[in-house]
């Protein structure tokens, strides 16, 4: 696939050209943090962001989504999708890899989700190599960053005064055709490699993945879980900010005066008590210890690709560090792994 080198000055023009074809969502400052939000120009974006509060999965699996509406006397209506093409600008490698993982859940199973497929299809991805990982990032350990190996339409890498823009798809090629820039040289690719090396040297958190699935299954009774269960608030922040957590609840809501209603889904979280509750008050994960073990175990131990395909070895966690950044109780899954390993 081709590429171009775009001067930083021309990025605005590129974005405005893109905005003629796509609704653009990019990182925008919100208080001390960032969120992915609709933007109209490059100035509205802050491409030096670290991570956003909610991961980009919110665009593909909305926090709350109507499955269908119904009338009591029969008749079901699926929501109409009218949205045109959109584009996520500046998605980091961790979040991009997270989407590839969600694809396994919502596209590759026996019952693919039409709404997810549609949204994936109509959404272009302009990825951005991370040159300044935050103190909580560990994508390198997870093999998901700091620069993505694929899955993007366009990949931007900050080379100082310019961006190296590489296309990763036909759509990417078309997008790059809109950009003003010069041809890519070997020096540019070298610059990218250097930028990645430099980024790698900045990671403070690491996870040793060797035999990690067995590590977790061997340690189901490790006292660490009990201790975490005492600290854990079961607030759900970790799960809701996780880019690969896919769980949801399904509920019916009747309108008043009860002639019809909607069946909708909403993000759910395994750390919440209700998540595993069944009729008559039964609960398979009543203890917070079991729930925090499920969250961390699912992310680093038994979840991920091995749950959806035959092969093993790709964890559900992509190392974005959000759950660490936002946990009020200071629970850090990289530390938990160390503890399980007895380090």
């Amino acid at each position: 696939m081709g590429g171009k080198v775009i001067a930083k000055d021309s990025l605005g023009e590129f974005v405005s050209k893109l905005s003629e074809r796509y609704r653009i969502f990019g990182p925008r400052k919100k208080g001390t943090e960032w969120i992915f939000d609709e933007v109209r120009s490059a100035e509205e974006m802050d491409l030096r962001y670290s991570t956003t509060i909610l991961p980009p999965r919110k665009f593909f699996i909305p926090t709350s989504e109507r499955i269908f509406s119904f009338k009591m006397d029969g008749g079901v209506e699926e929501p109409e999708e009218r949205d045109g093409p959109s584009l996520i600008f500046g998605i980091h490698s961790c979040d991009l890899n997270a989407l590839l993982l969600l694809d396994m859940v919502f596209l590759e199973g026996e019952f693919p989700s039409p709404s997810y497929a549609r949204r994936r299809e109509r959404t272009a991805l302009v990825a951005l190599t991370c040159i300044d990982p935050s103190e909580n990032c560990f994508c390198e350990s997870m093999g998901t960053g700091p620069s993505p190996a694929g899955g993007y339409d366009v990949l931007l890498t900050d080379l100082g005064r310019e961006y190296l823009a590489e296309s990763g798809s036909r759509r990417g090629e078309e997008m790059l055709a809109l950009a003003k820039g010069r041809a890519v040289t070997a020096a540019d690719l070298e610059g990218k490699a250097k930028a990645i090396e430099c980024a790698k040297s900045k990671f403070k958190k690491k996870v040793d993945l060797k035999g990690i699935d067995e590590l977790f299954l061997r340690n189901l009774d490790n006292p660490v879980w009990k201790r975490l269960g005492e600290k854990d608030l079961a607030c759900g922040i970790c799960v809701n900010s996780c880019p690969t957590c896919f769980c949801f609840d399904v509920r019916d809501q009747l309108d008043f005066p009860m002639v019809g209603g909607v069946r909708y889904k909403e993000w759910d979280a395994c750390v919440l008590l209700e998540f595993s509750q069944v009729a008559l008050g039964g609960n398979f994960r009543r203890d917070r210890a079991a729930r925090i073990r499920q969250f961390i175990g699912h992310n680093l131990g038994w979840g991920g690709a091995s749950q959806f395909r035959e092969f093993k070895g790709r964890a559900k966690c992509v190392g974005c560090g959000r759950c660490i950044r936002y946990c009020p109780a200071g629970i850090d899954l990289t530390e938990v792994v160390k503890e399980l390993r007895g380090i």
Binding site: K30, G31, T32, E33, I35, I53, L54, K58, T63, S64, E230, K231, D232, L233, A234, C235, G236, I237, N240, S241, R251, Q253, L254, F256, P257, M258, E266, W267, A269, L272, L273, E274, R288, R325, Y326, C327, P328, A329
Partner: protein
């Protein structure tokens, strides 16, 4: 089928919950079509005595007269719903339960004289301290959507969906900047039941806990975090937990200073 009979009853409270019931404006006319409002003193002068299918009871129990009324009501009511914090946990006025009785007697110069005629426990009790409560709609006041859900549930004979998970869930789903983690402000969201739509954090304020404890509140851990991260003193922490729901089992330890 006869329309279910609804009663809206007030005990010791501020009427805010009844006001929230009235705020179902757009659905009010439909509601009247679906239920028979048999008793609602604030809204109508055509009040009938039970039996009722559903009773929404606002306020806590603070006088012998109310206790009598509540017990009678329970007998006449199929589904008794505690409407709002006062009914569920005593709400802010429950702070008085920690005040020695002599102090509250100062409220009235001739307290004892009045007291002999108009008795008061000088304490507030949630309804569940005295009768079986079928459903609790928490919040100060509970959101009208929850009230509607409860009424629909009553009409359908099912348990309504109420958010028992913490405010943090709704707060995150709204993509608010976390006031506790990012700004070090003493937010009660992690132990407080949702349902308000994370009203306070979405409006730049820390959650004060007005929906009472969530299903699995880890009060002691949050107390530790608030002390460490936000520098709250022991007194501050008591104040935080002894506010809307200090009487609930989940908060009572922290509300009493950790004992």
């Amino acid at each position: 089928m006869a329309k279910p009979k609804l009663a809206v009853v007030k005990m010791t409270g501020c009427a805010g919950c009844q006001m929230e019931v009235l705020r179902i404006e757009d659905k009010l006319l439909d509601l009247v079509g679906a239920v028979d409002v048999a008793y609602f003193y604030m809204a109508t002068s055509a009040n009938r005595h039970g039996p009722y299918d559903v009773a929404l009871v606002e306020g806590s129990v603070s006088t012998p007269r109310e206790l009598r009324e509540l017990k009678e009501l329970r007998e006449r009511t199929k589904l008794l719903i505690a409407l709002g914090d006062c009914a569920c946990s005593g709400c802010l006025p429950s702070i008085v339960n920690w005040v020695p009785p002599q102090e509250s007697a100062k409220v009235y110069e001739r307290f004892l004289e009045i007291h002999s005629k108009k008795e008061s426990f000088q304490r507030v009790y949630p309804l569940s301290a005295h009768v079986r409560v079928d459903l609790e709609l928490r919040g100060c006041p509970p959101h009208r959507d929850a009230i509607l859900e409860a009424l629909k549930g009553a009409l359908l004979g099912i348990k309504p969906f109420l958010r028992e998970h913490p405010v943090c869930v709704e707060c995150k789903l709204k993509e608010n900047v976390c006031l506790l983690v990012c700004e070090g402000r003493p937010c009660m969201g992690p132990v407080t039941a949702a349902g308000c739509g994370a009203a306070c954090p979405s409006n730049g304020r820390v959650c004060e806990g007005c929906y009472g404890p969530m299903s699995d509140a880890n009060a002691s851990s949050l107390a530790e975090i608030l002390a460490k991260r936000c520098g709250l003193s022991r007194e501050d922490l008591i104040g935080k937990f002894r506010k809307y729901a200090g009487l609930t089992p989940a908060f009572s330890k922290e509300a009493s200073g950790g004992i």
